[in-house]
Amino acid sequence: MKKIRYLILALLIAAVLLPGAAFAQAKTIGFSLWTMEYTFFQAVEKGVRDACKDLGYKYIMLDQNAEPVKMVQDINTLVGQKVSGIVITPVDPGAIGPAVEKARKAGIPVVCADIGKSGPVNALLISNNFKGGEMAMQFIDKTLKAKGIKGKKVGVGPVQPQWTYARQRGEGFKAMAKKLGYTVASELVVNPPDAQGGYDTMQQMMSAVPDLVGVFYCSGREAVGAANAIKAAEKDIIVVGYNGDPEEIQAMRDGIMAADIAQQPYNIGYDSVKLLKDIFAGKKYEDAVVPVDVAFLTPDTIDKFQADYEAKMNR
């Protein structure tokens, strides 16, 4: 029995005391990612990885597996590894505060790539949501004028109000509508946030405002649901969505959705590392929000957008 005890003890001691190899000289970027399950996050990850390769940094990625506790555990692990900079795409942005504080105390800059932030992060890179909303309204205005439609009533399907950054899509849309002389005649938060929610809210909007001419849904699947509701009601209402997911692209190919604002997750990831490089070079960032450009898609530009995306993902 004693022998077994000694064996266990020896294994543990050996594990802790094994000489640590000297850390390599090159800077290392640690990336803590929400999950690799979704294409959006796969693109963010590819962007971070490619930027590290291009800029000559070592790269470590830890997958949060969509668990807030694992996310914090991983950030602490990266701090323990003494990485040079950390990029986080947090599953729960409210829960990174204490871990980010530890990283900053250890002299490690932290950048959030999308979603949100808390604690003393240097910067958050996120799609320019407000501008995306403005672009949607500008497109509706241009299309209506081209068609000679005089109606001035538009609708918006915003995301849940607590989604601080995504909410700005609707705000940008409303601000531009006001500027261009339109009335936002209907505004219904899409719940549940999926295609069914989009379908239901669109039906309600059409009942409440029969002379609606255009509508902007602040998230992709919801916009596709809304477009299907319009098709079923045989109405002529311009639909613009937001995200750039495959469902939306298919809806545009099918001719039921007019346009889509596409986020550029690869660029969000890539630019996060570039920003860390600036910090290493001495540039100051504290609690900054850095907008990343969104792309505007119409059926005519889908092919080029997809080809560019494929090229980035396969490089």
Binding site: L12, A15, G20, M36, L62, N65, D92, G94, G97
Partner: protein, 324 residues
């Protein structure tokens, strides 16, 4: 000869019972330490032990519950509800009140689960499944689905503080396990829990207040979930009504079963749950560090669970017993 063989089997089985999981943990740590220089740093080993506390502390109550022949799947939602309620009181009443309310409320909710199971005779699975939905929804309704942030230094200390170089969460976990092990091994209560889990009717006929024991066990689940919730909330600096505690019930059940407690009740090993919580935590950490794809990580967890439970079953076969 037969006697010799028999005693050899018994010795192997008993050795596995005592040293199987610590040995598995030591092998795991040794393997990852050999593979990754970052894994074997003292910082990494201690930092991860801190995260084992969240599962470890919660697993104590769950182990008693499973030993008594029931289980509670409302723990994740309970953790979210008591966390948001407790944390929301901090700005007005301070961190100490927030922490106490979180723990007391969880204890009360555990008691409530117990009342449904014992007095209304609703099976534990149905009761705690229903409560899982109710607690989660209540957390959403109370917060309108927004996270509650914790800035109070006292509360934050409970998850992030260090005492004489040791994270407070680890000290708390060790203390909780000491209390749990004392209750299980040194008090009549521990024996009654095992008796109820082994054979409820026999326990009742022996004069044990079965309902009373079950009520106490569900209340204990609440108490330890409350303590674990405080530590988790401190580590995350916030409580999210939707995300806090998602999948927590399965993490606890995994730790308890991996620790050698039979799902059917009656047989229990608290120290096993302690090691199991560490095995799960270091496995996650080590696989992540070796850049193992998250899908393969889940495969690894599944294999470790099946392996450990399989060996446990083998132990009973060697002892010539049927696992109850």
């Amino acid at each position: 000869m037969i006697l010799k063989q028999h005693s050899a089997r018994v010795i192997i089985a008993n050795q596995w019972d005592r040293f199987g999981l610590p040995f598995l943990l030591a092998v795991l740590i040794a393997v990852f330490a050999g593979l990754s220089e970052s894994f074997r740093t003292v910082y990494n080993l201690i930092s991860n032990l801190q995260f084992a506390a969240m599962i470890g502390i919660g697993a104590i109550g769950m182990a008693f519950c499973i030993m008594s022949g029931d289980f509670d799947i409302s723990v994740g939602s309970m953790s979210a509800l008591v966390g948001v309620l407790g944390a929301s009181l901090v700005p007005r009443f301070g961190g100490v009140v927030g922490v106490l309310v979180t723990i007391l409320l969880a204890t009360a909710l555990g008691f409530l689960n117990g009342v449904f199971v014992t007095k209304l005779k609703i099976p534990a699975f149905i009761t705690t499944l229903g409560m899982m939905y109710i607690y989660r929804s209540a957390a959403y309704i109370y917060t309108t689905n927004t996270p509650v942030y914790i800035k109070d230094p006292f509360w934050l200390f409970l998850g992030n503080g260090v005492v004489l170089g040791v994270p407070f969460a680890i000290i708390l976990m060790v203390f909780c396990f000491a209390v749990g092990i004392y209750l299980l091994r040194k008090t009549p209560f521990g024996r009654y829990v095992v008796a109820v889990g082994t054979n409820k009717t026999a326990a009742r006929l022996s004069g044990i207040n079965v309902d009373g024991i079950k009520l106490a066990v569900f209340t204990m689940v609440g108490l330890f979930v409350g303590i674990a919730s405080v530590v988790t909330a401190a580590n995350l600096g916030s409580v999210n009504p939707g995300m806090t505690g998602q999948g927590y019930e399965f993490q606890l059940i995994t730790a308890v079963v991996l620790g050698g407690t039979a799902l059917s009740g009656g047989n229990g090993n608290l120290l096993g749950a302690f090691f199991a919580a560490m095995i799960v935590t270091y496995l996650k950490n080590g696989l992540g560090m070796k850049q193992v794809n998250s899908y393969w990580q889940f495969v690894a967890f599944g294999l470790v669970l099946i392996f450990a439970v399989g060996v446990n079953r083998l132990k009973f076969t060697l002892l010539g017993m049927r696992e109850t």
